[in-house]
């Protein structure tokens, strides 16, 4: 009983001290003014945090450039960039490669707004270096792929090179080696087009270094993007049965015949057919499909994959020491129209 009484008196005392008449309470003042922990402060912060996360997820929040922060040293970043990728850059060329034309225009305009009539900016943008880099990459990727996949028709090689030099791959590599923060351009974050151009310029900046170093860079960062990807998905053969027929005709072999090997679940939703393609009673390949037509197409695809040595079980692309000793092949592979099994026996496999 005595404890109760003490507690009530204490509470009265606290209330009296917290609601002193000297404090001007308005509708804006919180209970914290009275020394009380409010029940709405934490929920409010929680809600604000929730909204912040949501806006961030939707991309509505302005993203600050990393270079706007106080802890930013561009020289140190450029030094670290080269060291990280284990290549030697010429400092001036690297700066040029990272400067986009939009940045130069922006700087010129800014200086004119500040009243400088002749800005006299000596900055040059990375367009020339990008063109040079693209040339370096296409000059290396083609011979490398021809040497690594000697039986792949020339059409396939050029499709692979085109894929590697596409904007998607270029920008993905550019983002992946950390150009996002280093690039000098107007928009932020840099668009894939700008990023792709910048990465090409980085390769162009490496052009001054020894050829082996430059080629190793292209191989390790650009060609490596082919690892784990299906070549016949990148290079789509439109009419595989006709192509196979043409190849067999060139090789003076019998016409391709498709034969049903197995079938199950006809007239159901899960029907499956297993079709083999034969030439002179020799199995060239087999494939599965939900209809006979798709199975025939798949079988012809499989036969072509076996002929071109691009199956899942084929040897992986050479990297590292294997690639250093790989003799590059500048002359074109056999084209698809002239591809024949007899000729393919003469091709030296590395």
């Amino acid at each position: 009983m005595a404890a109760w009484r003490r507690a009530i008196t204490g509470a009265k005392h606290i209330l009296a001290s917290s609601c002193r008449p000297t404090i001007n309470r308005t509708i804006f003042s919180s209970a914290r003014v009275c020394g009380m922990q409010s029940r709405w402060v934490a929920p409010l912060y929680r809600e604000l945090k929730h909204r912040h996360t949501k806006m961030k997820r939707m991309g509505l929040l302005p993203v600050n450039k990393r270079s706007e922060y106080i802890e930013w040293n561009y020289d140190a970043e450029l030094y670290g960039f080269g060291k990280r990728l284990q290549v030697e850059f010429d400092a001036e060329t690297l700066r040029e490669a990272l400067t986009d034309s939009s940045y130069v225009a922006q700087e010129t305009q800014r200086q004119q707004e500040l009243g400088v009539s002749d800005p006299g900016l000596t900055m040059s943008n990375n367009k020339d270096l990008a063109a040079r880099g693209e040339r370096i990459m296409s000059d290396y990727c083609g011979p490398y792929l021809r040497a690594a996949l000697p039986l792949l028709p020339e059409e396939g090689v050029s499709a692979l090179v085109e894929y590697l030099l596409s904007e998607d791959i270029m920008s993905a590599v550019g983002y992946g080696i950390g150009l996002r923060d280093l690039i000098l351009c107007k928009e932020h974050p840099p668009s894939p087009t700008t990023m792709a151009r910048c990465f090409r310029a980085i390769v162009g900046a490496l052009g001054a270094s020894p050829a082996a170093q430059c080629q190793a860079f292209v191989r390790d960062f650009v060609v490596a993007q082919l690892v784990g990807k299906d070549i016949d998905v990148i290079w789509k053969i439109e009419n595989p049965m006709a192509v196979l027929g043409n190849i067999l005709h060139q090789s003076r072999q019998g016409e391709p015949e498709s034969r049903l090997i197995f079938q199950a679940g006809q007239k159901t939703l899960q029907a499956i057919y297993h079709v083999g393609v034969y030439s002179d009673k020799q199995c060239m390949g087999s494939g599965y499909g939900e209809t006979v037509d798709t199975a025939v197409k798949e079988a012809a695809h499989d036969a072509l994959r076996r002929l071109f040595h691009i199956t899942d079980t084929a040897r992986p692309l050479p990297f590292g020491r294997d690639a250093d000793v790989l003799p590059l092949k500048t002359e074109a592979n056999m084209s698809l129209d002239h591809w024949s099994i007899d000729k393919s026996k003469n091709v030296i496999m590395c």
């Binding site: 670290g80 990280r84 950390g178 390790d220 784990g228 090997i261 899942d312 990297f319």
Partner: protein
Amino acid sequence: MSGKTWSLFWGSNFVRAPLQNGVGRYVQQLQRITFKFCKTHGGSKGMRAEDVDSGTCSSRTFHIEMAREYIEKELVGFARDNPGVVVYVKPRRHRSPCLKAEYLNGGEEYMSTQNHTCEDVHKWVAYLRGRSGYPTERIRKYQHTDHPSIQGVWTPWTHRHPAINIKDYPCEELSAAPQTEPTATHRLLELYERQKQQQQQQQQQQEQEAAKSSAA
């Protein structure tokens, strides 16, 4: 935390490497690390040893000093060993120390080093240095491949002979239960065969002996 909640919170993923890292060359994914700390909190820059001994400093001040100890003793060595990592040191007044790591794929890691000793900071920095920049997730397996089977996907007809296509059904031979163990009939037949062979051998031996004796 139950297993399900744990999985929902952490998520799960397969082992992966950003940008096929390591196929060609290995690129360290940590691109910059910022050490944020307070220079003067709880004492002047040269915090004296007797202050610590006599206990005039609070334990908090002492530990902040520990975080500074890393910067004084080991940071230069770290920067020298990792030239690809840009190191920033950012003193802030009266704020607790922390590490901020930024990775090439845009990932960021913030870590409070409040009350951490020099060894702790050293270990956490080594941990951040080895990360890939992907968020911490439960790894489903310690290896991953895009082609789980180089023989191809299993189908109902894998290792089946195409001759079963032209059988007339119902077929007694194919409908029969597969024999895995020899039956009693099989065993009897085997015994019979063995006896037959033994008898033949005995007969041959007898004939050879008879031939020898006749020759002598």
